[in-house]
């Protein structure tokens, strides 16, 4: 942190520009974007449907949050400048505030227009959410005029706040960010926190923070805010420094310290499920199943750079093989193997499927490969559903009464007991993480990365590109089939509708949002997306969002690709590759600036 402060001081700031020296066209454009975004969010009915999900009891609900972040963000973005090395930078001042207010006001005017239209016109025929309930929520039940004026003023005020963020020092921005994140996150995690606090006998803490009918209480919000401030100001820095100090004193390498962290996580993974309630265990099981899938796809997409859109095929292979092998009622073949024996058959089938799908596509151009794998995913699903294969797969009726998983006669994991299933999932996730970690730093892993970056160069370096890509495909397939096999044992039945292309795309979103090629990133992606928003068929903590989660996934995918293609927790090497242009540009600009300095010096020298 101290380093960034120094560089900030080193930049010579030009004086602030006057408040009305604006790029008005840009402001109007951003204002219109703000208005459109507000109208779009209103028409999706988020304000109404999410209104019941309270963040801070009397003050704020998720419904209103879905509106108010827009003017703040856009009021901030409108005056954001890309600062490149050697460019003149102006001091921030009144100009930023004026721009923010204008953008917010234009956006608010758009929302006011919508309120007026809601009152006077009836467009409910194509637009299903065009109804009085929405009008009620937007105008607070106080009439059209009140709502319209309120939103123009409120939106302008929020835009002003967004612009004002430029004026605040960096530390204040970080504090505000930490506070809002803590509060929104705690409110999202409400039901899980309830569950956990019960397990640890900490109900008093939960009751201090949350209201009975849901949502944080005002005092709870204040406590959390103080905690967030304390964390940013003291504890966060302390923890980092402590870690560095430990590493320095014992002459340990940072990786050793990371190992300590890993051990801590492992202990938590063993101990925590005992204290968790049913709901959280079930939720974490879903997260674990998707994490297993995402770790597999991370090897295929993140390390080897093969965009496999039919990844769900291997999940289906795992699920159906386990179902056929273990269920006593599976049509056709029904060997009724114990689950731990069936898992070997599952691995074998996954390898066969991986080779069979992988071999034809491996030589194709990257984008053709994506579509063809997607095609294979659909072919497998359609075949499983058809009458032709229903002799083995049960067709649309699926396979029922799958017994739980038994582990080498030691224990039987019943699908109905979420805690046992969670342990099973944690076991497999641990294997997957270990395998990915070892592979990443092995000869194979380096070969994958070389193939990802440039196939011709990799081949020239003596890498057998076809074989190494096939290996990635097969390893990914095995991990996905594990997930499928656990899924079958957990749910007790498999249907083809659980294996739609949608699942592939959700896994892709998890990998990309988390950070391609980085295990911690993928884990964070799975926790946040599946845990909070929910998987394709599984509800998350924000059950109210189920209608909107796919919309949010789509928007997230676009936004990540445009703004941060390396993901939330990026792989260092990969992000360097993705931002190569910017690094080069910075270097070029720096060189230019140096040249200019040289010329200036020589220019001054000549007349003298």
């Amino acid at each position: 942190m101290s380093e960034t402060m120094n560089t900030d001081d080193a930049v010579v700031l030009a004086p602030a520009r006057s408040a009305f020296d604006q790029d008005w066209r840009k402001i109007v454009n951003w204002g219109l974007i703000c208005a459109l975004a507000l109208i779009f969010v209103s028409l999706t009915d988020m304000p109404d449907k999410l209104d019941k999900r309270v963040i801070v009891e009397p003050l704020l609900s998720m419904g209103y949050l879905s509106l108010i972040w827009i003017p703040i963000a856009l009021g901030n973005f409108v005056t954001r400048e890309v600062v490149l090395e050697g460019m003149a930078q102006h001091k921030k001042g009144l100009r930023e505030l004026v721009a923010g207010v204008s953008v917010g006001a234009i956006g608010g005017a758009g929302l006011a227009l919508l309120i007026w239209l809601l009152d006077t016109r009836d467009l409910s025929d194509p637009l299903v959410n065009w109804n009085d309930a929405l009008l009620e929520v937007l105008s607070f039940g106080e009439g059209v005029g009140y709502g319209a004026i309120f939103w123009i003023l409120a939106s302008a005020g929020l835009g002003l706040a967004g612009g004002a963020l430029h004026l605040l020092p960096a530390i204040a921005n970080r504090l505000l960010f930490a506070i809002s994140l803590t509060i929104v996150l705690s409110a999202s995690l409400e039901s899980a926190l309830d569950d956990i606090s019960e397990g640890f006998q900490l109900e008093w803490l939960f009751e201090a923070l949350f209201e009975k009918k849901g949502g944080l209480s005002v005092q709870g919000a204040i406590i959390l805010a103080v905690f967030a401030i304390a964390w940013v100001l003291f504890l966060g820095g302390q923890a980092k420094r402590g870690r560095a100090a430990v590493a320095a004193r014992r002459e340990l390498s940072p990786t050793k310290v990371n190992t300590v962290g890993l051990v801590l996580i492992a202990v938590a993974a063993v101990v925590l499920p005992m204290f968790l309630g049913r709901l959280t265990n079930d939720l974490l099981t879903n997260v674990g199943l998707f994490l297993l899938l995402a770790l597999g796809l991370n090897i295929v997409v993140g390390l080897a750079g093969i965009l496999d859109l039919g990844y769900v095929a291997f999940y289906a292979v795992g699920g159906y093989t386990a179902a056929i092998m273990t269920s006593p009622t599976s049509p056709g073949l029904s060997p009724e193997l114990p689950w731990w024996v069936a898992i070997f058959v599952v691995v074998f089938m996954a390898i066969v499927a991986g080779l069979f799908i992988g071999a034809p596509v491996i030589r194709m151009r990257g984008d053709y490969l994506a579509i063809v794998t997607l095609g294979f995913g659909e072919i497998i699903r359609l075949t499983v559903r058809s009458d032709w294969a229903s002799g083995f797969t049960g067709g649309a009726q699926g396979i029922l009464s799958i017994p739980g998983a038994d582990i080498v006669g030691i224990a039987t994991v019943k699908g109905t007991d979420p805690q046992q299933v969670l342990y099973l999932v944690i076991g497999f996730v641990a294997i997957a993480i270990y395998v990915s970690w070892r592979l990443e730093n092995s000869r194979i892993g380096r070969a994958w990365m070389a193939v990802r970056e440039d196939e011709s160069v990799a081949e020239a370096m003596g890498i057998n590109t076809v074989n190494s890509k096939l290996q990635a495909f097969v390893v990914g397939a095995i991990l996905a089939s594990f997930s499928g096999a656990i899924f079958a044992a957990k749910v007790g039945s498999v249907f083809e509708s659980s294996f739609k292309i949608l699942v592939s795309i959700v896994i892709l979103v998890i990998v990309i949002v988390g950070g391609m090629g980085r295990i911690a990133g993928v884990a964070a992606g799975a926790l946040v997306l599946v845990g909070i928003l929910g998987g394709p068929n599984q509800p998350g903590l924000l059950a109210e969002f189920s209608e909107f989660k796919l919309l949010i996934y789509g928007a997230l995918l676009i936004w990540m690709m445009l703004k941060r293609p390396e993901g939330l927790i990026p792989n260092v090497r990969r992000s360097r590759e993705l931002h190569q242009d910017e690094f080069l540009q910075d270097a070029w600009l720096k060189a230019q600036a140096d040249d200019d300095d040289d010329e200036a010096v020589s220019g001054e020298a000549a007349p003298a």
Partner: protein, 374 residues
Amino acid sequence: MTTAMRSKAAPRTGVDWFLTFLRVLLSGLVLFGLSAFLLQQIDPGNPLASAINPDANRLSWDAFQGLVISGLSQGAMYGLIALGYSMVYGVLGFINFAHGEVFMVGAMTGMITSNKLFEAGVWEDNFLLAILIAVLVSVICSTVTAVVTERIAYRPLRGSPRLIPLITSIGVSFFIQNTSAVLLGPGAKSYPRLPDWLRDDIGIGPFDIEGKKLLVLVVAGLSMGALWYLVERTKTGKAMRAVAEDKEIASLMGIDVDRTIVTTFAVGGAMAGVAGILWGILFGSVTEFTGFLPGIKAFSAAVVGGIGNLGGAMAGGLTLGSSESLAPQLVLEPLGVTGHTQLKDAVAFLVLIFVLLVKPTGLFGERLSAEERA
């Protein structure tokens, strides 16, 4: 192309043998199925034919021609959508996954307009005027959708690694699909009832064609003609071809590359809009998922015909449409596959895989610049 060159230079690996095996297996299955079909056609009681599939029936001429016509009319639609994929791939070198959703937007807005016109009574009084308005509205909406997605999602990514715009377009596709579900409500929505003359059969030579299928074929043909004129005979088209060939040289020749790319998206969007309304006329209903499968199939059609090749896209669409409608009856049923019509969609993907295995440049040859082929 590359496989052939490589196999001469390097010794064959296991993968090559497997691919050869797959090629032979797939061709063998198709040939075997077809010959079994012919045998059954000659005499269903034929011992060889009945050994393969004891329940075999002879396919009547009426049923056959029905399959051909519906395959062709559906294929014409695939062809219209495929044009958009093909043009964008030719110019920018990436698969615009969201193009199927542009088509869905066309079908959706067509549904809304035609229902409004039906309520106003125009649909029944003056069908041609109504359908003209509906086509106009959906073409405009599809074009706007295509251009806006280009501006927001693809233009900032120009020059990034080629998988990045592809992933973005998957996001766009997902977003548009769910926007439609949230704003307009999920589930199927139907078009108003068509006038009788579109639902009756019209006899042309030996064929009896349902009016709406004939309409689809005619409209697709006209749009194709208009597009051919635009691309081959106008200055805009020349600019498009130049940009597809080499963006840098084209800009040195004074062509506004950004604008040409927008035009390409707009033209592709317009074609998808036409296809959308034709879908509505042909099937009478539309859901938010309408765009997904036809979109992927249309991309397959573009690959089958040779990507970047506009005539090829149309031909690929017709090939794909008719094989997906005929193959279950002609190849799968004689082989004894039960419930063969359920595998219609699988056939479309198998055709794509087969073409990519046997002739990766498509049936009519791809037209791409050297940089995109790499």
